[in-house]
Amino acid sequence: MNLLRALAGWVMLRLLARFSRGSGRLPEDRPRIVAPQPPHPRAEGLAVGLLLLAAVSGVLFVVLYALEASTQLLGLALAGALLAIGVALVVLAKRVLPTEQLAEPFPEPDPEQADEVAQIVRESGDGLTRKKLLLAAGGAAGCALGAAAVAPALSLGPLLDTDPLYKTPWRRGVRLVDAHNEPVRADDIEPAAFYTAFPEGASKELLGAPLVVVRLAAADLRLPRERVGWAPGGILAFSKICTHAGCAVALYRSPLYDPTEPDPALVCPCHYSTFNPATGGEVIFGPAGRPLPQLPLMIGRDGVLRSAGDFSGPVGPSWSGVRSRRPT
């Protein structure tokens, strides 16, 4: 605490000294305040070692991140770096720097005292024999940790380039397949059930790939006028990715007895965004800001469901300008 206060005072006084006319130089012939201390080569070496270890851990984090290693390993690397820095500081504070408790009133800014404080700080450092090495090791640790903190930002993707976000694997005529790549036939879609489907021949990992497919009675549909014909036989397909935070819309509220029970709804389990399939994915509850994108469907001659175009809107969580374009 004293040391901190002294350091802060020193920095302030150095600044004051720079702006005032007085020189910041300390006279060399003044008597010591802090008793000379023996060097602590072992403790210092330990601190250097720990800081270098922290540096290695920080670099390791970056390497692991680049290799897409498991999050446990990433956490271990980061924790290792922080822990090593922490222990190094503890070692330095306990073994190398003098510990002394002095009670003093809050000092008035006084050039005389400023010199004294500066002297104290300088002489306190006498125990440090390999100052430059320590500074270098500390710098390496700080740089590596900073790099570890910044590295994940690279995953944010190209700066301000939102074009890829509008791309989906759906084109007119693409067949719908289930998780085992079996084509989804229109006859297989039963009312009161929900199905997950993917585009044939495209990666299932793409944000625009997964669909949730449900069948409502054609008479219950109240789709916007421009979407007439998007739901052959009452079969509706929506992006399975919630427009709020990108969770999978995994809940289907499907009343067994319509007159007295809540209407059918697609619900995201993360924050309970609720979408109305009958009106084309309109948000009826929850934090989602945009409707669930609907995919126009048609039934091929083979009875398999096919997309009749692309989604009604961009898939997934929103970004700046999301409403400006249709997906391609």
Binding site: E190, E261, V267
Partner: protein, 262 residues
């Protein structure tokens, strides 16, 4: 502003629904202890179920039915063709009889005696001819690991991954702690209240066995060791870990801050 109001209103929807009406008392017509199960079922049905489901199980449209014994206006789905599976599920879970049409049925003690359930099941199954039979009661030979996979995909969104239950906008997803294997098999095929229905294409008979094995396993998990904290789920477990971590951190701070003895 309107949006905020909408969210507020929605939160009210999410809030626990007002207490469900008390279930009506069971009426046992004189002489209904005798006769074939079919006859007994018919009498019990007329006395306890017909207000909402119609005198021949054809269903009652809201506002069209006569007032029932407790003054409740009946409204309920048709039971034609539901087979023996549905009445067995609704009666053994205590879901039926329901206090007020439109309430979400909640698990309660079974209201009818076992032989009355059998009689009603026989009668309801005879209404539509055909329909699914009562599934087996045994846990079966399902694979727990595959069951977990299937459960995560189809059920965990609402029922939580170890079957502790949860909510869906406007309704509650019941916990599965007391569901018997037979009831799990039945619920998957029926889709009670707002639960989706899973056909044999969505969940095959073998997959259903896996699911049942998993639900059964999750009801009394075999702990490999450590502290289970009553299987209350990942978030509370995380908080417990966090609290213990805080104690360690405070202890470290005290150690670091203490003066070196020299």
């Amino acid at each position: 502003m309107r949006r905020r109001l909408a969210i507020l209103a929605g939160l009210l929807v999410l809030a626990p629904a007002p207490a469900a009406a008390d279930p009506p008392p069971i009426v046992r017509p004189i002489g209904s202890e005798q006769g074939t199960p079919q006859q007994r079922g018919s009498e019990l049905f007329a006395a306890n179920c017909a207000t909402c489901h119609g005198s021949r199980g054809e269903g009652v449209k809201p506002g069209r039915g006569a007032l029932g014994a407790t003054g409740v206006a009946g409204a309920g789905p048709s039971l034609l063709g539901v087979g023996a599976l549905a009445p067995d599920f609704y009666l053994t879970t205590g879901y039926m009889p329901l206090g007020r049409p439109g309430d979400q049925p909640v698990r309660a003690r079974q209201r009818f005696h076992a032989d009355e359930v059998r009689a009603l099941t026989t009668y309801v199954a005879s209404l539509g001819r055909g329909g699914p039979a009562i599934p087996p009661s045994a846990v079966g030979e399902g694979n727990v690991a595959r069951g977990l996979e299937s459960f995560s995909q189809h059920c965990a969104g609402c029922h939580q991954v170890v079957g502790q239950g949860g909510v869906v906008t406007g309704a509650k997803a019941p916990p599965l702690q007391h569901a018997t294997p037979r009831q799990v098999r039945e619920a998957v095929r029926i889709g009670p209240y707002v639960m989706p229905r899973f056909s044999t294409r969505a969940i095959s008979a073998a997959e259903l066995d896996d699911l049942v094995a998993y639900v059964h396993d999750a009801q009394a998990p075999k702990d490999a060791g450590g502290w289970g904290i009553n299987h209350i789920g990942p978030f509370p477990e995380g908080i417990v870990t966090w609290l213990m971590g805080m104690v360690v951190l405070v202890a470290s701070c005290v150690l670091i801050g203490s003066r070196l003895r020299s």
